[in-house]
């Protein structure tokens, strides 16, 4: 499996922070857009109110001018042919009465004042030197063709002119002109000028936020006041739209000069950014006042809020990260301790224990379980050590016992060097350390040879002890009763009463007379030995009846007798020979033993035993055998 790149701790922090970060980002975005909308909405209203309020205020100032002009015209209507001096005084009084009025002219239509005087138009205006007269009734200037005279007299109504450079007043001005009516006829016009520069200052002084500003356009879209003086009186909102190819701006301008009011989001004149533009008409003159604020300024609080939120969120995430870090540290540190302890344990340190882990939670449980496991492991290992020691002791004792057991069996070869008439050797292979098989051979009554092979039921130490007892008893019994049947019955009679363990032993008992070659034998439940004739034929010697020793008091033994010819060999064996099995669970069987015995060419007893054991081991393989194996070979030499 692919290993994790990051530790648990980092993974926790990253995942939780990412999740929380995403959520706060979404929240911030929501807040931002909502606050943006709210800001725009409120700013729109505010801008619109500002535009309307200022437009109305401008209108009020201009109304004072128009009212004063109308009043003068009215007074002239009822004043029949004032003298030039009267006119001058009247004009001066009206100028000084209204602060916003820059100059006033009373312009008579050609020949209307005096028949022989074509042009007559006294004009006074403000100047640093006070109110001074200025000539506008020269032939050159020819006032009757100027808007301020032409329009009121043609239309018979009052109106404001477009701004223009007033030659007489020497400034850029707009003029309120009203027809002068006498006797129901239009005799001329009474006109008042206002200074556009002064008006522009009012507009410029309007505070519209930090980057915002106000501007004023005339009925024809001319800029009357704008922060950029290059626009004033030169450009119209439509000339800008034309130069920048901005149909939207042209439409906006048309809405403005047609008396519209509203709030729009537009690109500014320089096409640099979006602005919010509110506009409202100055009703008195038909001009339009616009106030605009860059969108970035409108949205600045939203951005500031977003910034604050970002900082707060960052701080929060940092704090959260710290908390998670500590939390996960609290989780992983005990885990690391457990892991460390496990590693130490794995490397063989049985004292490895998890220290400093507070119980109560899952990791605590884990640590506790680990510690318990280590304790268990320790006690198990102690037990195991003790057991092993005990076993080792027992094994060494058993080994000793085996040596003792072996040492009580005759192992010398030749067993009786002084007797050359026979060859005798026996060997036992216990399945365990000590075995229940035994053999023995000794002389009784001087020259008769007894040889015994026994097989105690069961195995191991009990069998070995029983075998020791049996062997000793047989040897004792044989000393008194050499006859095979008597000897074995004597042994049975001695063993049976004390045999609480219900153990028994099968015994082949042979009594050989060296001189005659006669062999008397009895078998207490023991398999009959094999006899190899001098010609190589092998047969089992005749079976005699009888039970094993230690079972019943009546054994039913019978005595067998054969005569062994020179060069005949007798093989006495225990069931460890024929009942041994191989991996395929086949018994070695007497048939294989017989045919081996028939075909073997060795004659020496020890060699024969070794070969037979080899032959049998070759058959069984490495399979562990559960029966002791004892072989005794007896050959008559002469």
């Amino acid at each position: 499996m692919r290993p994790h790149v990051l530790k648990l701790r980092a993974r926790f922090v990253i995942f939780v922070l990412a999740g929380v970060g995403l959520v706060s980002l979404a929240m911030a975005a929501l807040t931002f857009f909502e606050s943006q909308e709210a800001l725009i909405e409120s700013r729109q209203e505010q801008l619109f109110e500002l535009a309307q309020g200022e437009a109305a205020e401008l209108g009020r100032r201009l109304i004072r001018v128009s009212q004063a002009t109308e009043a003068l015209a009215n007074s002239l209507e009822v004043l029949p042919t004032p003298t030039p001096e009267n006119l001058d005084q009247l004009i001066k009084r009206y100028i000084s009465s209204t602060r916003r009025i820059y100059g006033i002219a009373v312009a008579y239509a050609p020949h209307a004042y005096e028949t022989d005087r074509k042009l007559f138009s006294p004009y006074f205006h403000r100047s640093p030197k006070g109110i001074v007269a200025s000539c506008v009734d020269s032939e050159d200037y020819n006032y009757p063709r100027h808007d301020w005279f032409l329009l009121p007299t043609l239309l018979g109504k009052s109106l404001w002119t477009e701004p223009y450079f007033g030659t007489g007043g020497g400034i850029v001005m707009a003029t309120y002109c009203t027809p002068l009516i006498q006797d129901g006829k239009i005799k001329g016009a009474v006109v008042s000028d206002i200074s556009l520069q002064e008006l522009g200052r009012d507009v410029d002084n309007l505070s519209v936020g930090r980057f915002g500003y106000a501007f004023l356009i005339s009925r024809q879209g001319s800029f009357l006041a704008a922060p950029n003086p290059k626009l004033v009186m030169r450009e119209t909102i439509f000339s800008l739209a034309e130069e920048m190819q901005r149909p939207d701006l042209r439409l906006l301008g048309q809405r403005m000069i047609r008396g519209g009011a509203g709030v729009e989001r537009v690109k500014d004149w320089h096409m640099k950014e979006y602005v919010w533009l509110a506009f409202a008409p100055v009703h008195e003159v038909g001009w339009s006042l616009g106030v605009l604020v860059p969108e970035r300024e409108v949205l600045a609080p939203a951005y500031a809020l977003a910034q604050r939120q970002a900082i707060a969120a960052a701080a929060g995430l940092l704090g959260l990260g710290l908390v998670i870090w500590l939390l996960v540290m609290g989780l992983t540190r005990p885990l690391q301790r457990v892991a460390g302890a496990a590693k130490r344990l794995a490397s063989g340190d049985l004292s490895a224990k998890v220290e400093d882990v507070r119980p109560g939670d899952e990791v605590g449980d884990l640590a506790q379980s680990f510690n318990t496991m280590v304790d268990d492991l320790n006690s198990y290992v102690h037990e195991l050590t003790a057991t092993t020691a005990a076993k080792e002791r027992i094994e060494s004792e058993l080994d000793l016992a085996r040596q003792i057991q072996m040492s009580i069996l005759p192992r010398t070869y030749p067993a009786f060097p002084e007797h050359e008439g026979f060859d005798l050797f026996a060997k036992t292979h216990p399945a365990r350390e000590v075995g229940g098989d035994f053999y023995d051979f000794f002389f009784v009554e001087g020259d008769r040879l007894v040889f015994v092979v026994g097989d105690v039921s069961g195995k191991g130490v009990p069998a070995a002890l029983f075998m020791t007892v049996s062997r000793t008893l047989i040897k004792n019994a044989a000393a008194h009763h050499p006859d095979p049947v008597e000897a074995l019955e004597e042994v049975n009679a001695q063993i049976l009463p004390e045999n609480e363990m219900c153990m028994f032993v099968t015994v082949f008992y042979g009594l050989y007379e060296p001189g005659t070659g006669r062999l008397f034998y009895a078998s207490a439940g023991h398999p009959s030995p094999l006899l190899r004739r001098a010609d190589g034929q092998v047969e089992q010697i005749p079976t005699t009846g009888g039970m094993a020793i230690g079972v019943f008091d009546k054994m039913g033994l019978t005595r067998g007798e054969i005569v062994m010819q020179p060069d005949e060999t007798l093989l006495v064996f225990t069931d460890g020979l024929d009942e041994a099995v191989n991996a395929a669970n086949q018994q070695y069987g007497q048939a294989r033993a017989k045919s081996w015995l028939a075909s073997t060419e060795v004659t020496d007893a020890p060699v024969m035993i070794d070969r037979l054991v080899q032959e049998q081991r070759a058959f069984t393989g490495d399979l562990e055998q559960f029966d002791d194996l004892t072989l005794l070979v007896f050959r008559r030499k002469e």
């Binding site: 050159d140 020819n142 009757p144 063709r145 100027h146 808007d147 032409l150 329009l151 043609l154 239309l155 109106l159 002119t161 477009e162 223009y164 450079f165 009925r219 024809q220 879209g221 001319s222 009186m233 030169r234 450009e235 119209t236 909102i237 439509f238 000339s239 800008l240 034309e242 130069e243 042209r250 301008g253 048309q254 000069i257």
Partner: protein, 317 residues
Amino acid sequence: MAAFFCLALAMPAQAQDKVRLQLHWVHQAQFAGFYLAQDAGIYREAGLEVDIVPGGPGIDSLQNLAQGKCHFATGWLSGAMEYRDQGFPLVLMAQLIQRSALLLITFKDHDIDSIKELDGQRVGLWGGHFNIQPRALFKGAGIAVKEIPQNVSMAPLLEQAVSAASGMYYNEYHQLYQAGVDYDELRVFEFSKLGLNFPEDGIYGLESLRRQNPDLCGRFIAASLAGWRLTFEQPDRALEAVMKRVDAAQLASNAGHQRWMLNATQELITHRVGRQGLGQLSPRDFSLVNRVLVDQGLLRKPVALASFYQPPPEKRP
């Protein structure tokens, strides 16, 4: 241009002749060719040091010429012919504007679909030579209008104090657009299409100068026309020359308007004659003006073309 360099090479040692050109209106793109001839050094190459004097309300350029206040003047053909008839010794040396730019402008919603419907209505007319064509038109249509003296302002039309007003195609027509009036709100009567195509701007000089110093006249006219050709080739450069003067004179105009005027002027000057035929007077147009002026009683007798139109020998290699 090539003509110029050759011209300059032909008389490299000549001292600079000081001449004064009187324009018949304030600085604007209508005169761009003269400005560029000056700014691009064309006049200087021609051995001329030209003082360009702007006109304006109350300035009669041809009168100034007749009074010897300048060497050359621009002016309208009709006016020049009147002065000629009155005995002013001026001659036409180059006819620039071939097509009349004069218009009568009204709003479509005034419901004036034909000239006849102006009968009895107030019509804004400029003074002087500017009212010859309208009056001829009204006379021809058999109507009488209330003539209202018109100034530079289009406010009377916008305020509906008049039913129609005079306007120049290259000036007022576009000024209305820059005042927020869409072109399709307007109805325009073009004199050039109403059988009254009076050639307008031309370059005039005194007959005496023409006779005594044909070389100077030739150089001035050739350089001026070269200035115009360069203007048509490099309109942005010409516009720069225009705006330089407009700004210096603190005129209430803007670059957008001057660009429009420059395009319109090119259209009018190259009308029919193309860039190569710059400065020619069409005898047919001339006889039309003659006929109308006589008809209007503005001329005692028709002006003779040969004595009036005397283009100086051009110094072409």
